[in-house]
Symmetry: C2
Subunit: 280 residues, 2 copies
């Protein structure tokens, strides 16, 4: 993030303004939760692109188009900064989003990758959607600072629907994890990046399969920490005490989002549908 | 289908024109395959709406909007008749599609339901996506002609990604099938409708779990048979002998469609991407 130029561009941004967060659907709520925990005083607007979910199996061009549209919509809601809480979008659309809007933008890839570098891991596993893995974004970011590290990336498309079914404790989820993670066990990784915001929900299952010696990196948590530092350095943290408000938008089926969100957040929220032509 | 009025409306339709087939993605290829087998001489245009797949978890309003757009696009390609090879779209968008276009339209729900009625089944299981099950379309259609029949519907959202992963013979697919189909076994169904065009691919797994006494109804196969009769009665069957051509369009990621299509068709095809604004 080019902090100096952002400060110049955004002198009008106010610390009272909300933070924008978006994801292809429900998974980004794990990042929302991490942000909420760190910064309870902030106002937050979350957008789930449920009309196009999942992004993981879509093309680069489509992911860029959807992401930029949403970033623009959130800027119309006067956000002060944006978190791209979707690994697939962070992997392929981050620079397009930064070009399209004038607020600070944070993706989930760089904080996750930098954590691996900082902790000195040498044999790093990355799991994510087909789109994230195909992009090679984690490997590229890790190798920038740790060129000698080996990175092993595996796409796990069934994890998202298993999480959305709520089958977190089913034996079948563990069996699927065993199949997907086998090549990473064989590669004797010392760490594993959860490169999809749905995955923290089944962290205990992944941890059981990989064993205690493998460190799991939750990109969402790392992003929340990094984002707080960025807001602080830009003097954009909300000054008031007391809990900030949260607002949720989706591009399709608010009822389904609401039902699933209870599983992610453990509490009820209000969700509003935005028709696509209204946010283009 | 209102055959008489359709004949009047479509006096210009020529038997040489292609058949249009559409699905949210790849699953409709099981219907395409059934149509090809029955009518090798026909020309066919297939559209997979891969930018919006899967339809199963989308809202009614969105499914109607996507379906009508595609039906119009296919009519611009001068099709003589249309098969909606997607259960979710057939369940919620069929009447909207029929209003929007002037060619004969066949969905997959009615032929599947009518087969159950004709065969005299009394305790009918239906499996499909969340959207299809929520619509209750199979139960409504079956009860029209067989009001005393009991219909038990179960959504199986994991079947689609399991099929798309190619895990057709994995133990985990059988385990998922056991979990989903348990209530239908308890209900002692005498038949089971495969109410999603992906499911015929894992028919052996479903059959093994349900046992030999339960008849499996493949809606796609039934639809192909019904559609052939309709074309014949409208004098729209292609007269020439020799194999007809096939053309494939998708709204996103032709490479992925191509890769998966090999698993469905066992042979290679050519796929073209249609940008959304071009077909609106």
């Amino acid at each position: 993030m080019q902090k100096k130029s952002i400060i110049q561009k955004n002198s009008a941004l106010k610390s009272e303004s909300p933070i924008g967060i978006f994801d292809s659907g429900i998974g980004g709520l794990t990042v929302f939760k991490a942000l909420r925990k760190l910064m309870p005083q902030e106002n937050m607007i979350y957008f789930g692109d449920t009309a196009h979910l999942p992004y993981g199996s879509k093309s680069r061009a489509s992911i860029i188009q959807f992401s930029v549209e949403i970033a623009r919509f959130l800027c119309q809601q006067k956000i002060k900064a944006l978190v791209v809480a979707c690994n697939t979008s962070s992997a392929v659309a981050l620079s397009a989003i930064k070009k399209a809007v004038s607020v600070p933008v944070e993706g989930v890839i760089v904080p996750g990758a930098q954590t691996c570098v900082r902790k000195g891991f040498r044999r790093i596993g990355v799991i994510g959607t087909e789109g994230t893995v195909r992009s090679g974004a984690y490997a590229a970011e890790i190798k920038k600072f740790s060129p000698g590290a080996r990175v092993f990336e595996v796409a796990c498309p069934l994890f998202v629907p298993l999480v959305e079914e709520g089958w977190w404790k089913y034996g079948v989820t563990q069996e699927v994890a065993r199949i997907y993670l086998k090549p990473l066990q064989k590669a004797r990784v010392d760490s594993l990046v959860l490169g999809c915001t749905h995955y923290p929900v089944i962290k205990p299952v992944i941890s059981r399969v990989m064993g205690k010696d493998v460190s799991l990196i939750d990109s969402g948590e790392q992003t929340a920490q990094e984002f707080e530092k960025t807001l602080e350095s830009l003097n954009l943290l909300r000054k008031r005490t007391g809990r900030g408000w949260s607002r949720f938008y989706v591009s399709d089926d608010p009822e389904r989002f609401l039902r699933l969100s209870r599983r992610f957040l453990g509490s009820s929220i209000l969700v509003k549908r935005v028709i696509k032509k209204n946010f283009e």
